[in-house]
Symmetry: C2
Subunit: 693 residues, 2 copies
């Protein structure tokens, strides 16, 4: 019997456990996502940006007045071009890295740890901003449909974030329908609205939008005629804001394992589909808005909107988002149409924010496995770590919402930097990937495919690099510096954590001296009273047959000491009892000192300290018990050659906590669906059955 065979020949007990697991594994296939479900699961983030990206384009162009609106569809085309490039590039990634590591994996594997950490920092910042931007935009749509909410957008947004966080903390059981219904409804609403509008345009009776009759005063210094430099700068700003449409496109590359086989091919197809739909929606909205004569300015500068006569608008004039204005125009007189469009837009924005709550714990887990985040985040089922991540995300995004008063326009300035940093590093990594693979590949057909892929990624890199530069130039002072500062901070934290783990690993590396066996075990059972927990600890300690076994009692007054000694005799406990005198009611120090003395007297022996512990179920009971034991344990662990043995005694109330844990375990976590981890009620049953068996 070698060691290896013991591993292979698992015993009866563990076989039964493995059976439970195996069942779960085999059922997994059924929960993998077909394309028609995968599309909505991964699309909400990318598609939802059509709710705010066109607004930002019009808003930027408005700086120089209405005349520049003629450029709007060209800017839309430019954004669409970038989007197509990025989609094509990610199709390469999906094939080359089907494990779901996404940009982080590509950057780490091909460009090294620092590049990986940069991508990770960008992702963290992006998750926070996805929540802040989506929810802020959602709050604006809510306010455009529900009058009384106007002016309270930041509060509405904050409440929505708290609600989302609470839902995720509780655990939401996601299903395909959970995503499919609202996402397809959103597509239908936007494409239907645009189709209907374009039909009306072709038939010549497209109504004007509510802002068509207004005129825009250019910002000071941007009056007609624009210089060429001015125009270029303006278009660059509008373009970089429009690129907000690209956020979320990379989501599929993180979710390949959740797809049905052939996973990579299905993921790539879904990605292309997603790109095409997003482009169609964005271009339709921009075109239709322009056709309807829509005007849109920075909500901070509403006074730049005037009536056709040049007079100021009433003070309570409210500028609605672009899709709201189109909907109320296209469906003139038919308010259900308007409310349907605005409602599903709001829902899709909330769903987009929810993807961040789904993705964040997964990212934390990946970072933890690579030693860049606290290791506890790496194990699934660690409820506390999972909760911390959700709270972290909620708090940061609420801070952003409050600081920027839930104004999408101002948050957008922070948003796109991080996305394009990951795009660039990912493309660069893919180029390296193909170059390296080309060195070892000789099959001409394969080489040709690789060369083509590399060309695509090179083109992608060029494109995204240009966009990144444009974004940096046009947005740095407007807020992108905050993003970069945050990224640097997260980067340094990860680096610090990684360095710490590496130092610890060096310090812990085993050498030959570690095989020395202690010569003997001196066991002591801490006694506070002679009750069931103490007797159990004594019994367990005896069963372990140490070389020396004694009870240890810290006597703080003579009366209690005498009482205990009498009881000890009465019960005929055949273990000697040592009393440590402590006139000042110190408990911890005498025990630590005593254990240290024993260890020092016999440096090759081990001191085993048995601590009877009560196990209680309610938080306030915890405060009433075990506090001293806990602190004592903390102190003993600093003493070399001491091991601390907790002997639990389960009080009846511990059942409460046990049931709570069981409930906790059967609860799904947000993000399970997109990681291909859908809890199957039957397999859960199986596991429970095993545990009670």
């Amino acid at each position: 019997m070698g060691l290896r065979s013991c591993h292979v020949g698992v015993g009866d007990v563990s076989k039964r456990i493995l059976l439970g697991r195996k069942l779960r594994s085999s059922q997994l296939g059924e929960t993998l996502l077909p394309k028609r479900i995968a599309l909505p699961v991964f699309a909400s983030d990318a598609l939802s940006s059509v709710a705010y990206a066109p607004d930002e384009v019009f808003l930027m162009l408005s700086i120089a007045g209405f005349s520049t609106y003629a450029w709007s569809w060209k800017i839309g085309l430019a954004v669409a071009l970038v989007m197509l490039t990025v989609v094509t590039s990610y199709r390469q990634t999906v094939h080359a890295y089907p494990s779901g590591g996404g940009d982080y994996e590509v950057a780490t594997v091909n460009l090294g740890r620092s590049a990986g950490m940069t991508v990770a920092s960008a992702l963290i910042v992006d998750y926070v901003l996805t929540v802040a931007v989506s929810i802020s935009s959602g709050a604006q749509y809510a306010a455009s449909a529900i009058g009384p909410l106007r002016g309270h957008e930041a509060t509405v947004a904050t409440v929505m974030v708290i609600f989302l966080a609470a839902m995720n903390l509780r655990g939401v059981r996601e299903s395909g329908a959970f995503f499919a219904v609202p996402t397809y409804a959103f597509m239908a609403a936007i494409l239907g609205m645009c189709g209907f509008g374009l039909l009306r345009a072709l038939s010549g009776n497209l109504p004007d939008s509510e802002s068509a009759d207004l005129m825009i005063i250019p910002q000071e210094g941007w009056e007609d005629p624009l210089t060429t430099v001015g125009l270029v700068l303006l278009l660059a700003r509008a373009f970089s804001s429009g690129c907000a449409a690209l956020t979320g496109v990379e989501a599929i590359s993180n979710g390949v394992p959740a797809f049905k086989r052939p996973k990579s091919r299905n993921a790539a197809t879904t990605l292309l589909l997603l790109g095409v739909i997003a482009i169609t929606m964005m271009l339709s909205v921009i075109t239709l808005a322009h056709q309807m004569g829509l005007k849109y300015v920075d909500p901070h500068e509403l006074d730049r909107l005037r009536t056709a006569g040049g007079q100021a608008l009433p003070a309570d004039y409210d500028q609605h988002p672009v899709i709201s204005q189109i909907a109320s125009g296209v469906f003139d007189g038919f308010s259900p149409g308007f409310y349907f469009v605005v409602t599903v837009t709001g829902v899709i924005l909330v769903l987009a924010a929810n993807t961040a709550f789904n993705g964040f714990p997964v990212l934390g887990s990946i970072l933890a496995q690579d030693g860049l985040a606290p290791r506890a985040l790496g194990s699934r089922g660690d409820r506390l770590a999972y909760s911390n991540g959700i709270v972290f995300l909620a708090v940061l995004s609420i801070v952003l919402i409050q600081v920027f008063d839930a104004q999408t326009t101002r948050l957008i300035q922070l948003y796109i930097v991080g996305v394009f940093v990951s795009f660039n590093l990912s493309q660069l990594g893919m180029i390296r990937h193909w170059t390296r693979n080309l060195k070892t590949t000789h099959d001409p057909a394969v080489r040709r495919r690789m060369m083509r892929s590399r060309a695509i990624n090179t083109f992608g890199l060029g494109m995204t690099a240009v966009v990144l530069v444009i974004v940096l130039v046009t947005k740095f002072l407007a807020g992108a510096w905050i993003t970069i500062l945050a990224m640097v901070t997260f980067f340094l934290i990860m680096k610090g954590i990684n360095r710490h783990y590496e130092n610890v690993n060096l310090e812990l590396a085993a050498d030959e001296s570690d095989k020395l066996l202690p010569t003997r075990v001196h066991a002591m059972v801490l006694v506070s009273k002679l009750h069931k927990p103490t007797l159990r600890a004594l019994a367990f300690a005896k069963a372990a047959r140490p070389n020396i076994l004694e009870g240890v009692y810290v006597g703080t007054d003579q009366q209690s000491t005498d009482r205990l000694l009498d009881e000890w005799d009465e019960r005929r406990i055949d273990v000697p009892l040592k009393v440590l005198h402590s006139p000042y009611r110190e408990v911890i120090r005498p025990i630590v000192d005593y254990a240290t003395e024993i260890r020092n007297a016999n440096p090759r022996g081990v001191v085993a300290v048995y601590i009877p512990e009560y196990v209680v179920g309610r938080w306030w009971e915890q405060l009433l018990h075990n506090q001293t034991a806990l602190r004592l344990k903390g102190r003993l662990l600093f003493t070399p050659g001491v091991m601390v043995i907790s002997v639990p005694y389960q009080l009846r109330s511990s059942q409460v906590a046990k049931e709570r844990t069981a409930r906790d375990q059967t609860r799904t976590r947000a993000g399970d669906l997109r990681s291909g981890r859908v809890a199957d009620p039957e397999s859960q049953q199986q596991v429970t059955w095993n545990r009670q068996d």
Copy 2:
């Protein structure tokens, strides 16, 4: 060798430890307090009330205008009479209960647990109010001396509480001089000032106070002539406010063990001395203030103060406390005199607040020993519990200061109820005490003494009961209801805690079945990596020679699992390794399930789970390590028949924490002095030497 002899014949090791302790014990005698030091140590609380009690008397009388000020010295005499009665009663307590348990012990022993808990609730409330009232009054004195602080009394008071709490959290080394210098200075200042003032009065050149020229408008409905009922009610209110002078008198009864022998007699003498000094100071201040024509109204109703011509005072007029007004009058032109009086008054008020910070942890410890507070509070040296007590006290008193805007007058309304509740229960308890003792005593001389003591306590009860009724009637709606509500709350919490501990005791009471020994030990060492901590855990586990020993590894992916198995073979570790597969990266559940299965397969055996733990020194390192181990331990403890063994591996950084702990232990705690626990530098040395030996 019986069990008892093992206790008597302590081993070499523990002898050396006991030696250290013994040295400390024998040196204790030297730190006991002679009367001249004990007086200032225990007097600050009681004496400091002369800084606000006279103000309250004048303020209450002012309701009906200046004419009622003629009653002021009679009210002073009435308060003095109550004070003398209470002092005489406590002299009985000091003789009968020299252990320092004070009112709580008297009530519990003689009247039962509920009475004791009532006293304890009253004490908790009083500690909070001592801090709030003393510091608020101190802030008023500070504002009377330092102009710019005026109007910011609540902030000044809050900062002072935070400062006091911080000092006490850090640990202050108290000495006799720490108390003696300011307390004697305060006595000298007040008595000197009053003596000087009375001398000037005798010689006919006593100056008027700054408010002598003002006139007081009576409150509406209280204009002259008063009805008899009105006058009685007014005097009752003034009297009950004046009784604030009695707070703190009981302190000595809690500190008898700190006195030099004969402890009780010295304590009784000191108590009498304290009473005489307090009465002298209070009567002097009241008399002198009245002689100097002082006017004092509720700071909320400053508009009731008018110039002699009946005109309103300037808006920025500031009414100074009584002692300030006397000092600036008596020392006219000699400002050092004024500043000395005001400064020492401020200092004594802070010192009085500090006594609450000293007494509160001691009370917590006593309550914990009696099962009325979390048990952890009962062991000295439990830094966390101690700190929690101080923070609790600081937070509650800051809340009061902020809610009542640091206005002594309003806080006083809450103050005196609690004190008189304890006084009453304590007197009642003493009467029971003597009655019971009389039943078993036959020596006529002793019986006479007891009868006399009982008569004194009976008179005391009558007196304090009347005062309690007066206080309740006059102050209930003014704020005393808050105190009573708080007392009821604390009472119920203590009752709940007590009931919980009693239920647990019932559940834990040992019976014969608890002596059964487990038949065998199945040990598993949890392996995450093959590093020093794991090897140490394996070595310790082997040394304990369990019936079965295996390593257990949770495999989350094949690659890491294979790597570990290879390393296991390479290092030739002669312990079998079991791999539990966990495709979803769960770590805790597979282990808990496995342990449960083993236990269920052999219900009479014990499962010993060895967990290698890193010991690190810094708080953020704690976040990076052991989180999973901690939670795993938490889960395993709910499984019957499992014991959890922490095998610590001390990383280099653990030294940081060890040094921190050592620093912590040599630090004194506030209240050490009055408990007779003064840390002697030499004996500390001794203990340290023992520990490193």
